[in-house]
Amino acid sequence: MTDLTLEGVSYRYPESGTLALDGVDLHIGAGERVAMLGQNGSGKSTLARHLNGLLRPSSGRVLHDGGDVAARTVAQLARSVGLAFQDPDRQIFRGSVRSEVEFGPRNLGVRGDALRAAVDAALAEVGLDTDAGTNPYDLGASRRKLLALASVRAMGTSVLVLDEPTTGQDLRGVEVVRRVIGKAHAAGRTVIAISHDMRFVAETFDRVVVLRGGKVILDATPASAFAEDSWEALRSTYLEPPLPALVGSKLGLGATATDEALLAVLSARD
């Protein structure tokens, strides 16, 4: 399983000269569930793309298991880090759900029974097993997004990076995403998600990293990150803590990032 480190990573876009990442130091251990928050332009997508080599740091290093990945190609890094993009329509090109999901593992050299098994498992996880032969464009937009998720999951990478997995999803879609993350975590994989769904973040992840202007301004557990002390930092980048945190603070109950946590404290004091 892969351990990820960013060491003093800065990134400047060549065309515009904008500094998207400013000396970021971050370590994500194998098996962690990390949520990355921030507004558009905060550097979160840029950071995600450094994890699989799509972008290379202008200065600093990116390490996998302590080794610098500068010399490894994106295709090589795709064996350990799977990155699911936000817009599924920017990757779908096959005529059937099954062949679309096969693309990733095929590129990694998986064939025959192993390929079928990987694809079947991924499709089952997102509930698209009954639509294996359907044309992706006959699925609705939210199911296509689940298709993109399955496509990455089928690659069997030890790290999953998901860019806005719940944006545009309805209740059931969010449930599916949560289940997929749960299974991946149970199998020891690292899950990193870029999201601005505070509730989803609080309920699904162990660690919250908030970016603003290319720097990490907050790196803590959801309970800490959404506790009153952190509200100023959150609001400085237009993020609002989830409702249970607001209410818990109002009732003087300490750090309660989720419904569950809040109710647990209320019950205890009842």
């Binding site: 190609t73 994106v74 295709a75 990757q91 779908i92 090109f93 693309f103 990455v152």
Partner: protein, 194 residues
Amino acid sequence: MTLPIAISVLVVNLFFFPGGREVIFQVGPITATLEGLGFALETLARIGAISGAITLFYLTTPPSELVLDLERRGVSPRVTFVALASVQTVPALVERATTITAAQRARGLDTEGSLWRRLRGVLPLAGPVLLGSITEVEERTMALEARGFTRPASRTLLWWPPDSARQRLARWLLVLALPSIVVARAVGWLGWLR
């Protein structure tokens, strides 16, 4: 861009013009002739005139102004729309293609390996670009129609490039200049330009 063409025209005609007799100078076995030089200069003048005109047009005329003026004079808004929108969609298309390439590379598509491997990337890269363009066209069409674009009558223009008397005079002079020069040459005047 015109420079390499100019140089090659000059060199080829200077040294290799058939029927050249008056020698200017010699470089080993190759002779430079006056006729060759004359022909070369003539050709260069023609090329210069054409490319100069195109460049001047391109530099002085913003596409939106050209297109709006055409519409004011009666060209259909759909034509003007296509002309303007085509220019606008290029950066969006480039951005989309970049994201698509990144997404497919993240799924292990090899764009850095051998030529053969990179050729296999054509469909995964071109596919989403085309499919996405089709979807986008559908969405754009809906938005345009919902804002009354398909109304048969002419639309009100918010502004159009002003047309002064001097500009009109200049245009008429240019329009008259062409037939005048043709006639003059036919009649035998302006022979010294040869």
